[in-house]
Symmetry: C2
Subunit: 346 residues, 2 copies
Amino acid sequence: MGQDLPLLLSAALGKKVNRPPVWMMRQAGRYMKIYRDLRERYPSFRERSENPELSYEISMQPFHAFKPDGVILFSDILTPLPGMGINFEIIESKGPIIEDPIRNLNQIENLKELNPSESLSFVGQVLSSLKKDVNNEATVLGFVGAPWTLAAYVVEGKSSKNYSLIKSMAFKEPGLLHKLLDHFAKSIGEYLKYQIKSGAQVVQIFDSWAGQLSPEDYDIFAGPYQKKVVDIVKAEHPETPVILYISGSAGVIERMAKTGIDIISLDWTVDIEEACKRIPSGIGIQGNVDPGILFGNKESIKERIDNTFNKTKDRKYILNLGHGILPGTPEENAQTFFEHGKKLTY
Amino acid sequence: MGQDLPLLLSAALGKKVNRPPVWMMRQAGRYMKIYRDLRERYPSFRERSENPELSYEISMQPFHAFKPDGVILFSDILTPLPGMGINFEIIESKGPIIEDPIRNLNQIENLKELNPSESLSFVGQVLSSLKKDVNNEATVLGFVGAPWTLAAYVVEGKSSKNYSLIKSMAFKEPGLLHKLLDHFAKSIGEYLKYQIKSGAQVVQIFDSWAGQLSPEDYDIFAGPYQKKVVDIVKAEHPETPVILYISGSAGVIERMAKTGIDIISLDWTVDIEEACKRIPSGIGIQGNVDPGILFGNKESIKERIDNTFNKTKDRKYILNLGHGILPGTPEENAQTFFEHGKKLTY
């Protein structure tokens, strides 16, 4: 069963597999020396993520190093913004800066609908190259940011600690925010479809900042727009597995399960055994391993992987971290994570 | 029933009250103009929190402005550190800097046992003045940081994003970390007893960073040391209510309930109705209101308070935010929070 499909895709589709697939969020990046070397030559993040040769090369770095079961596009959740008329820059160690933060109706009404094949053709190019070259030895993953998280960026104008600007908008001018969220949902849905057509076999939606919402606000500003994105994708690609990740999601995992996604990617702040009970059995689970464990040693890493795996044996499970791998992680510890992960068996 | 006791203390003791008491975490601070003015004259945070006249004056600012049901000592969770031989400075907008971060056994073995009446007499002075002057029109609260959170500060050396240094110690040299946590638990227990003897009628333990631990690590590095602090306090003051707060606690609230505390202070990322089901009925609940709601308007603030209160009617409940009030919060919105909170009735 599923012998013709790569392991991660098979598992995500619910087919019987011999071991859980393994990949890492943010598996290409700063913790790899080869990436830091390339960054010296190409210091602009936007160039690295928007020049198709560079994005392709970086996407493949962890594949060459560790042979993970998933190869994810090297890109950023903000990459589609310029195609909607929102310009941004990423300043090393400071994060993204939105050129002209979105604060009023006029700005929202002037946003362009995203035409991915026009403004994001470099992404299509990278995904089709990855699909061809990875050649089903791994599964190619695409990804997007969810509407709430994109809205938080463009309203705040930068990485925020307190989200006071977008919350002010949410509580004072909810109609304005809903217009923005709706625009993003449609555009992001189109963008995911474009990624799938270009080669992505599994896609992940990051609503990184939805964990900053109370569950009552999640039901108004995050959940419905996650669902809208999923509905747009599933209407055309019902068979493509969709993963949803939220950082700080322990209070809303039941809600995540109701958005039409196939797999919930858990952070590490919830016991995966309890999460399995709270999430309907048809929905798969990914992640949950504290990325901080990779600052330990081989023994602690292996033990944590085993503990996590043992709690998920009767579930569809994809081994992953509970958050992106952290800068400063020793590469040999990432190696251990992949090596040990591949030794697991059902 | 409880007529002689202030409202918050009565409610915390489980006595029948006519309305939930209301106070705010970090209710004295940057959002108040009177505090910012004082800060101009006394720019050193350590001076403001360690000079008993200033600490007293600041503690009383919100009492004069809003008449909350609780008056909490103006201090910092790091304040006891110098009494253990760990020096620190707080740099405005950058947070605390530990002079000589704790990284090895020798440093841990050289830590002094805290003698609060010697090194923290200014805290005793402030609490006894507050107790006298507040005169049971409100309840006087003391507080401490829990061992894990203090350890995270002194090992990382500053506010951390990823906690890679303390996690490295936890996973590679757990014995070392346990020694440090044990030292803090004993000292912090003594410090709380000193606060109670000096005038604190209710005390709150902040394990602000325990939400960064997976539940499995929480059970090793956070929970047992919270419990140890509580045991030390309860041995001498079984009647003093103890509140426990953790930021990002949605995945561990059942565990918090097992530490011997009386009241769990919830952040806003969990539905309080679900939390009430997960927490044994004998344990009280505090908080849960998103501090971001105070960037909304009067109507949204009142509605949120009502929604929260309505979900807790059969529980011991203390109205509070789910986190400290945020810098930049309009003072009139804090006013609305207190005013509306005091209009609730059982």
